[in-house]
Amino acid sequence: MSRYFTRLKMKRCYKWGGRPSLCNRKFKSCYYEYVVLCKPDCNKGKWAEVQWFVHFSEVPYNRRKLLGRTPHPQEIFLYEDRTCDGEIDAETIIGSVEVEHLPPDASFPETGQKGTLYFKLCWDTKAFKVVDAEGRHLDDKTPLVSVSVAPTTRVLPTPDATVMKRALSVTLSRVSASAGKLAASEVESGHSASKLSASKFLSRRRRGSCDSTPGVRKKLDLNSEFLISVLLFCTHRAEELPEVSEQTDITPRSKRKSARLVSSRIRKQLNLLNAGEDQVFEDDSGDECFVPSKKDAGSTSEDEESGQAESEDEGISVKKRRLAASCRTPRSSRKAPASARTPHKSSSKKPRTPRHATPGIPSRSLPARKPGNVLEEARARLHVSSVPDSLPCREQEFQDIYSFVESKIVGGNGGCMYISGVPGTGKTATVHEVIRCLQHASEQDELPSFRFIEINGMKMTDPHQAYVQILQKLTNQKATADHAAALLEKRFSNPAPQKETTVLLVDELDLLWTKKQNVMYNLFDWPTRRYARLVVLAIANTMDLPERIMINRVASRLGLTRMSFQPYSFKQLQQIITSRLNQVKAFEEDAVQLVSRKVAALSGDARRCLDICRRATEICEHSSSRQPGSGLVGMAHVMEALDEMFSSSYISAIRCASTQEQLFLRAVIAEFRRLGLEEATFQQVFVQHRALCRMEGLQPISVSEGLAVCQRLGTSRILLLEPSRLDLLLRVRLNVSQDDVLYALKED
């Protein structure tokens, strides 16, 4: 019995006056017409609890007699089936309609109230029953009812939200015109003649959607109006795919049914065009439609039946249908990993859209300790991760970027800016600060609202993933790189009213380099489009990146709005440290100055500066535990930290090496001096080594041991060696300067 219902996997959606607006297949195996929103559940976010109602047309045909009367056009039935999902995505709700409960013996009110639907009975898939009102969530005259099925644009890669909206509105207007007729002709399921053309349409459309190229879609979109409704239908098909993968035997059947339904819709619309034609639909097609199922193989025989009953051309459409079915499989299998990710979902009886795994780290069982003393407090403040209230020493750059982005947002046009600077000069931090300020301003309604998207060349596996990430952050849809590029291209080149400006931050731009440079080209080309309203802020390390790696057409699109962040001077570094410490007295003045001078002389990297300060606080903590001092980080501590970070580890490594290893290094230098080259074979060095052993009064070592010594020095990269298969002939080079080696060896 339940087979019947799976055949009827569709949902009819009603507009305000209870008029069917579009035909739809939702993602579940139950069928329903009205979705009644009982209460929007705040805890669950987007999910809304619903009750399902069914229209008379959805009751299986051979059961309709059970009602014993003709249904009122605005009558619906409470649908009771455990397989229905009690929750739906709140975003699929598009509007509200009033549903009124009437006692079983009451008569229907006049049809003047267009916005109200009535229900007396409930349909439990087998029979009609009287509704016991007190058991329901909604009492009589409940006004809080809404009708679901907004086109969820995020599910499938649909061209554009606006396009979809247009399509929807077109469908609505078309169908509302035919609404009066519909109530009377609910029963019709598809005329034999119309069915053929409909199935052709359907198969063509399906093949189109399998390709899922926006081009095809667009063409369909522009083709004709009733195709648009089909298109909508198609987007919803995707939602049921996880379900399809579970119950594959049903698929052809339900598809067949859907074909009917679509054909009926198209039929209706066609009818509307030639208004003379009316009410010709026979029940025979309906009969065939509800033939009890005969397993999967039955679908073929059914097709044959219908082929006999109808024209010869049916065979073609059957083929097409099959083609479509075969096209579908890869799609559903592509979805499979998503459902595999949450196996408990598919096993549970309640079908639900597969919730994707949410990324997250388990939370700690004990809360993190707060910094206890001044030094710990200072350390927390000095950590690079702690976001300062303001960015000192970058006021000019901040102002420049701010005014650039602000002018673009206000003007509603696009543009590019290239920001360069060595690592650790606050490029990304400044841009983030600018965005924070702009977002604040737009919250205060001083600026039009805008979207901020950030991508990082280092945080993707392949330059083309940039498209995927941008698309995902922009519209929350997932697509392959090529598809995402096409969608973005469309999005940025199509005019759309009320589009807000998008600010795109591209960090580590140089990693988006590809051979054809098409990623970079697109990123800088989109802002030049008239309707794009895209501002691109590109960050990289080298100042001359556009000249060095970009081909002309890319560099030209990037434009000349450039900014370079100079390395911090020692005064700026000092200011950064003091502003971060912000009245926490943990450092002596001189100590801060020493650190900043040292770092400024080397790289001007603020990260390095903060790390050294942090290490100095640790050293201070150490030493104060041994001997109580002032408790402040002084020169000595900073010196020690600097030593640790900047001292060459080669020298300490050589000093701690074994005697033979040190001797070998001496031999290497002696051999280099003899040859006058910076390279020698092991055999040559070994001769020297043996001589040195004799001089030092050590027992000479064998060749095997000598090689082992040499290899040990090679693994720590004090020596650079050729591969060891060369044996005696492997060439040896020093990775340290000779002076350093001699210096390290002189001490002892």
Binding site: I361, H383, S385, R614, M645, S652
Partner: protein
Amino acid sequence: MSKRKVKDQQLTVGQCVCQVHRILRERFCFQKLPSAPVGLESQHKHLLELLKRTAIHGESNSVLIVGPRGAGKTMLLKSVLNELLDVKEVKSNILLVQLNGLLQTDDRIALKEITRQLNLENVVGDKVFGSFAENLAFLLEALKKGDRSSSRPVLFTLDEFDLFTHHKNQTLLYNLFDISQSAQTPVAVVGLTCRVDVLELLEKRVKSRFSHRQIQALSPMDFPQYVELVQQQLSLPQEFPDGRFAHEWNNSVKALCEDKSVEDVLRKHFNLSKDFRSLHMLLFLALSCVTPSNPTIKPSLLLEASRLCTMDCKANMLHGLSILELCLIIAMKHLNDHYQDEPFNFEMVYNEFKKFLQRKSHSVHSFEKPVVIKAFEHLQQLELIRPVDGSASRTQKEYQLMKLLLDHTQVMEALQRYPQCPTDVNWSD
């Protein structure tokens, strides 16, 4: 093994020796952690405090442990982790991810392994599905969602850190270090490497994000400490079942370490390397000769073990050669002496060999040329000679340029030790 449970004060010698083997083998072969890190106390303290701060305060850190092979880097990290996980506050909070550059040879594998070890929500059973890009995005998203105070700190240990720097774009390292420098999930990244120049391998952006903390696992150990360590490694613990035997054993070990010849052996090893592993090898070889009939380590055992350890493998190979092959080697050595290590080919060697036969061929038969070629090829297979790089393989076998992979001294030594070497073969002068 079950003997251990018997709390008998008087075990037989055989049982005692069995116990000794078990205890010492655990130390030498299974890398059992010592009770305290020897010679690395300050490093131990530094690392422990660093990781504690991550676990307790949620402070992100990154650190590299650098030291030559066998210096005790892994031992240091393991003992710190052991100690860290003993603290209850830490144990329930920290997540541990252990990676090895030899196993996770690229970022794709490494990401899957991280996700698996963190047991994120996209892990099904023991597998991680999805593409590389998806996995990366998922992991980054997961780590980004956390914050300092509420999410569990994640401790990444990257063994063979230098191999991770060869991954494409150093994506993994960039992201790990970037997380450690931003207000996301607190992480501690501990890298272990034996390369001193590891910082030069990091890309400039990655380098800037690294905190530049390096812990040098170098111990300036001198010889008395080394001997003490040997004694410590060989001594039996207090809780050895048979107290009397343990006492005797420990005394004998003490006497062993004071022996003059043993001291020479140990000094030679100390001079070669301060590496623990080679020391363990030496002690293990000595230990394996301890039997119930010979229940102590005698100096002679240690000498024998040392001889085995320091044997020259090439010279040993020469002992197995035939007279003809040995003659060819000697001929090559002569050529090397005459032409200052210039490469030679078969014809040159053959001529030299024929000259020798003409001069004094009393015991050596004159061989056919094909036989000599065969012997020459055998030497090449043994890699006692090898073709010079770049000498075209097109040239005829007889004229292919070769080099001898034996040192002058190795040949001389081998000739002296060759069993029943005919005196007239010894024309190496």
